[in-house]
Amino acid sequence: MSNTNAKLSDQILERVNTVSDALRNISGVKDVDIATAPRKTVWEDGKVKLYHFEREGEARAKTPVLISYALVNRWEMMDLQPDRSLIRKLVSEGIDVYLIDWGYPTKVDRYKTLEDYILGNLNDCVDFICEEHGMNKINLLGVCQGGTFSLIYASLFPEKVKNLVTLVTPVDFDNDEGLLFKWAKDMDVDAIVDGFGGIVPGDFLNTGFDLLKPMNKTRKYMALPETMADQGRLMNFLRMEHWVADSPAQAGETYRRFIKDMYQKNQLIKGEFVLGGRKVNLKNIKMPILTIFAKHDHIVPPETTTPINDLVGSKDKELMEFPGGHIGVFVGSRSQKLLTPAIATWLKERD
């Protein structure tokens, strides 16, 4: 009798505690801060900015690394919270970290092309950093779609890339497991880009991302009282919500081309992709390359990522499996403890 009693009263007590903590926490939230690692804007071209993250300690590697993030969402994912920040961790390893912020395209960017992004912005940033450090080549770290950019870039300008790291980067787009890959094949991208008047809203893309795991949001909200009762978890939740909601629009021509040439025709892997009149041959990549994929990635499944290892001309190449999902690569605790230090070590060994 008293057992059942205690059980029930404990349950209720626990809930009251939860609710009371949650109330206190949510009342105290004033601002949801993300991307707090100190940085300087060192180069700008229109909406595109190049950041240099400030290092506190001594430099422990001489070659700087440039991060090329995806266009479809925001780079803040790499510095979402101070204790789960890929960028902060890399910087703390004594590496000079640069990152391209692609900005938020607006109507005036509707004709901005892949050439403008890769041969223009990315190349300009590489040149800028080379000059800044008095070097001929630097390290490139490409993330997701930005990783595809970095592969293209390294194929066209192998002389400027010392080491290449790709993080959850799709290269073989002929895949039926990943829903994005499957859907993109059937997508009438012309109708969509033209219908939206050349600039595809971020919300449109988000609808697609949401459907990849249709009940994810529901699950997240279901756990909300418990999440809120923990100050740290509450802030993480709000930070993530803000990141998810912050989706930039896509420059129409770039979007059209990426969907057609990559998702629908899979040109990169076939050696048929042409950028600015130059054919992109992945065999030109001869520098050391580290390919990181996430085992449970439902956005960019491992099968779309790993083939790169067989396509490049590099002798020094490595596949690294991360035991988690797409987002875990950036904010998981294992990312902080294992993945980022491993990247740093790999880079330093080839400095």
Partner: protein
């Protein structure tokens, strides 16, 4: 800040009401004839003591609730005290009933001689549950306020579906207990409407309702709109003043169906109305009417396709709920373990997602989704076209104007990149050839002198004494005249002999005023002045 404490205090007041009504009910058991004096006295004193303690407790709680921060801090502690008190009195009451039930003529079949505190608390917890629910609701609002704007609809949908199912939690529990074989209940709580509502909310669908009826409404709405345009086309300027009344009139007649999408569209058109009438007056009516027709058909196609897409999801998910109940029934049968609502909800969500993912992976879904998206965006494109027509004569930058500018900007960007590459190549070539990099020094004066000589050779020399007033030529002002004189150009005759080549030379020599000679046709003007 005050909301949550209102909730707490309200919850506490409710709890007090509950206890006083309970006391009334319980007092009925103490009819004098039903018991002997001692039991009655015992019961009454026990009840009085219990009731007094309750009151004391809630009075204190309400007092503490005046200071929000304190109430917040004390809430868990109060809850604990309250639970302890209930436990203590539950035991006392249980003992009392065990001792006196027979004497009181009461039967306690359910308890079988032993008091069931869990059941008792389950009942007594209603008020606290209400307190909790209100608290949860308040929290949701707080969270909602701090969410990014475009995430809010998802959250609202979630809260609605969660609450919706929660309302049926009790019958659901009964279903779990008896393995779902209760036809009446299934009919009541698992009707297609109820099911569709939940799925709509969870997937964020806009309920489309009965498709054929909807299409009828769409047609009616467009017809009305078109007839409205035709009827009123004679006097557009006055219509815009009375627009609201006119629209109201139409709506009152029931000619405008009230579904949301049409209202959105309607509002947008209303905002655009003044300039819209402007184009009517200028004869673009036909084009606009045609676009309206096209939109109408595209919109119907969009609705049909969306409905098909949604029905795929419904079809796939329809067994998720019965499957969930069945799963939980198995567990209940094995170990009498009734899940709490959260667990139940979670199980349902997981089951639903598994089945949905199968659909989302199917060929049909992918194709259909693409068609829905394409049709939807084509409607947007046509609406834009109407706006474009609307703004055509107004001093606004339209979408296609913006498009031209964006195109131009991009062409310039690419041209610049090509030039930069060329410069880089040339620099490289020069370096390889062992020469210094070009571009640092000014053009050598000799070159300038040589061009000047070439120019004068062609158009003939003249002196200051022969000078004509070159300012008579349109495009030449005092400053430019002076500069031309410096080059040795003084007369109309000289200017009249110029051709495109000489214009270029002048541009090159003067640096400024690029292309002006060509544009203003100096030679032609000079000939006329001779």
């Amino acid at each position: 800040m005050s909301n949550q404490f209102d909730t707490i205090i309200e919850g506490q007041k409710k709890a007090m009401e509950f206890w006083s009504s309970l006391s009334e009910q319980m007092a009925k058991a103490f009819k004098p004839e039903a018991t002997n004096g001692k039991a009655k006295d015992d019961a009454q004193s026990l009840f009085t003591e219990w009731f007094r303690k309750q009151q004391e407790f809630f009075e204190n709680a309400v007092k503490a609730g005046q200071d929000p921060q304190k109430a917040l801090e004390k809430a868990p502690e109060q809850m604990r005290q309250w639970m302890e008190m209930q436990t203590e009195y539950a035991q006392k009451w249980a003992k009392f009933y065990q001792d006196n039930a027979e004497k009181m003529g009461l039967k306690l079949p359910e308890f079988k001689g032993a008091f069931n505190p869990a059941g008792f608390f389950e009942e007594g917890m209603r008020n606290w549950r209400e307190w909790m629910n209100k608290g949860n609701k308040w929290m949701s609002e707080q969270v909602y306020d701090r969410m990014p704007y475009n995430m809010r609809p998802h959250f609202t949908n979630f809260m609605e579906s969660y609450d919706y199912l929660h309302r049926y939690w009790e019958p659901m529990q009964r279903l779990i207990q008896n393995g779902m074989y209760n036809k009446e209940m299934i009919d009541k709580y698992f009707s297609p409407e109820a099911y569709q509502k939940v799925v709509n909310q969870m997937m964020g669908f806009r309920p489309v309702g009965n498709t054929s009826e909807l299409i009828e409404n769409v047609n009616k709405w467009f017809e009305t709109y078109l007839s409205y345009i035709n009827q009123e086309s004679g006097d557009w300027s006055s219509v815009s003043d009375t627009w609201k009344e006119k629209m109201q009139e139409y709506m009152d007649k029931g000619n405008l169906p009230f579904f949301e999408m049409a209202t959105d569209f309607n509002n947008r058109m209303r905002d655009q109305l003044a300039p819209f009438y402007n184009i009517m007056a200028q004869g673009r009516q036909t084009e606009v009417a045609k676009l309206m027709r096209d939109i109408q058909f595209a919109y119907i196609a969009f609705i049909l396709k969306s409905a098909e897409l949604q029905s795929k999801v419904y079809e796939a998910g329809q067994f998720a709920m019965p499957d969930t109940v069945r799963d939980l029934y198995k567990k209940f049968k094995d170990n009498k373990d009734m899940p709490d609502y959260q667990d139940f909800f979670q199980h349902y969500v997981n089951t639903l997602e598994d089945t949905l993912l199968d659909v989302l992976h199917s060929e049909e879904y992918s194709k259909l989704q693409s068609e829905v998206a394409a049709t939807g965006t084509s409607i947007k494109a046509m609406t834009d076209k109407i706006m474009e027509l609307t703004y055509a004569d107004l001093p606004f930058l339209t979408k296609s104007d913006g498009d031209d500018i964006a195109k131009e900007a991009n062409a310039l960007r690419q041209k610049m990149r090509k030039l930069e590459q060329k410069v880089a190549e040339l620099e490289k070539a020069l370096l390889l050839a062992g020469r210094p990099m070009a571009g640092k020094e000014e053009a050598v004066p000799e070159t300038k002198g040589a061009s000047k000589k070439k120019l004068i050779d062609k158009i003939g020399a003249a002196s200051k004494a022969e000078a004509d007033d070159l300012k008579q030529i349109k495009g030449i002002g005092p400053k430019l005249e002076e500069m031309l004189n410096e080059l040795g150009i003084y007369t109309y005759r000289q200017v009249s002999k110029m051709t495109a080549r000489e214009y270029d030379m002048i541009d090159e020599l003067l640096g400024v005023f690029q292309g002006r000679a060509q544009r203003d046709e100096w030679a032609k003007q000079a000939k006329a002045l001779l």
